[in-house]
Symmetry: C2
Subunit: 330 residues, 2 copies
Amino acid sequence: MTIQIKDVARVAGVSPSTVSRVLGNGPVSAEVRKKVEAAIKATGYRPNLAARRLRSQHSQTIGLVVSDIRNPFFTAVSRAVEDAAYKAGMRVILCNTDEDAGKEAMYLSLMQEERVTGLIFAPTRETAETLDSNKLGFPVVLIDRAGPPGRNDAVVLDNAQASEILVEHLLSQGCRHIGGVFGNTSTTGVERHAGFVAALERRGLPAPARFIAPSLDAAESAIRQWLVEPDRPEALIASNGLLLMGALKAARQAKIEVPRDLLLAGFDNDDWTDIIGSGMTVLEQPVYEIGRTAMAMLMARLESPELLPRKIVLSGRLVVRGSTIAGVAT
Amino acid sequence: MTIQIKDVARVAGVSPSTVSRVLGNGPVSAEVRKKVEAAIKATGYRPNLAARRLRSQHSQTIGLVVSDIRNPFFTAVSRAVEDAAYKAGMRVILCNTDEDAGKEAMYLSLMQEERVTGLIFAPTRETAETLDSNKLGFPVVLIDRAGPPGRNDAVVLDNAQASEILVEHLLSQGCRHIGGVFGNTSTTGVERHAGFVAALERRGLPAPARFIAPSLDAAESAIRQWLVEPDRPEALIASNGLLLMGALKAARQAKIEVPRDLLLAGFDNDDWTDIIGSGMTVLEQPVYEIGRTAMAMLMARLESPELLPRKIVLSGRLVVRGSTIAGVAT
DNA sequence: ATTCGTTGTGGTATCGATTTCAATGGAATT
DNA sequence: AATTCCATTGAAATCGATACCACAACGAAT
């Protein structure tokens, strides 16, 4: 039996409506407001958000559905989203899909039951194909991976450009035989691969690439295998932080020294890349800004639902470190 | 205007009560159940969780309040908590306090408004002192940092023991002049310091220690300063992953080579510790298990509220790597 | 002096589900 | 054949807030 609004009303000697108006900054005389606020303090009243949501039809909740919060990219994004959400008086519900379309469907359904105000979502390729914000009943902002163009709002990195920047950098280091490893579940891997191929073909160079499941073990063993083949590349680009770590471990295992025997670069300026040996060259994504932008985009969409879907493309930043500078120890 | 339970009832030709019973696995004849399920599918009905929560007085929501989700320790714990929660049909609300007592108070208040079923909480020392689950109105399980004994349920590492294990290891490597750096906001730092001191005093050795704010920059500069003083230790223990990284960066800056000029060990088996040079020696916390245990404890508490508060103490595991083995390059 | 707005307040309906209680019908028991 | 019992079902109350509407009081405008 907790305290409810009518208890506060009784203590303050006003009606429940008036208490509600005080809570919601409605029109109340200064004197009554003071009485009510005193009564709230005296009773220790806490509004029941379930009741408020039901009556007001505003959940003040946004969903954040990612593949795995342990991926530092999503960790950083989620922190940005939460900061922005709480500042706007909203709650965040976080779900991990593990790149599983079944779980995605389940959590989308949950989002509907929660009547979320909006959703920030990093879908698998499969789900991105068929996702339709109108059917869902709330606006969606895709992050990291955009679906078919013009259908949903999205905040993404310029993946092709980013790959090209990395390739150009390796080319400028004198490499000609550059390999790439890419994740096989998201559109991100596809786009980064495209940029990779474009940059190399422009020079008439081959663009050997492999697509790998996004797990450390899978990456490590697949890359190790590649590195012992006779045609192993002299430089490698990894399409995300996890694959980059896998590549490094694989090189270690194969007794291939970075950068002496293999130049190595990748995406995501994760903490470890800065402290390892002479550092890993990475293409940094503006992780916090991606989250912040996604929230801002969602808010904008809520204000003007009729706007055409927008896609905000952010640029990465090349951070050159020792792993791509021949003649430096790692 | 969304579909509600009475629409489903009309389509199925039954009463809303019956639909509700189908949803809640109540007593319904097989034939009616089939009709209702068909109607649910036909209408695309999604229950409104706000309404359900209000009426049933069960929020099916648990709060998870940590200092910063970007700390890999909390990231891993949160993933475990979320896995367990969703498996039990519960939602998780995640909040970041940044070790700020003011934010903690605000989020505790939010938890009350959400009428959470329970809370998993890593409090600052300040808040831990005065926290009272009874006043809050829902059970609390503390993680990482326990408050005053016998007051709240808690899942923690055996911090003193863990420190002693690290000290013993360094002693066995021949070190006698061992320093320690500890976080200054949580009880964890205090306990780890105590174990550190105990292990050294037992041998009649000094136990020089510093308490540092838990940020990478603060750690780096404080430790760099220490390392250029004349009495700098020959080995250093860092009380968490962040401080350990700070210590490593500080050593680099001061041109002090690990492990040749300084042995370095610390808490938290974060990903990077395994791939850096010849590896960092760490005391691994069972991160996923901590989260899982906290959830299990919360469930147990909900079943039997009258049980006396319990404190579950888990043990860490020493992972020896190159950073504490003299004569190995990093 | 009358009308009109404006401001502040209270009463009541309502949000969308679950829960309680009563009613029904058929099988089982005496 | 009458009675009891169980399994299903429906009607209505309820969870705790906000939204909507009506109305009182008062000053300004005609």
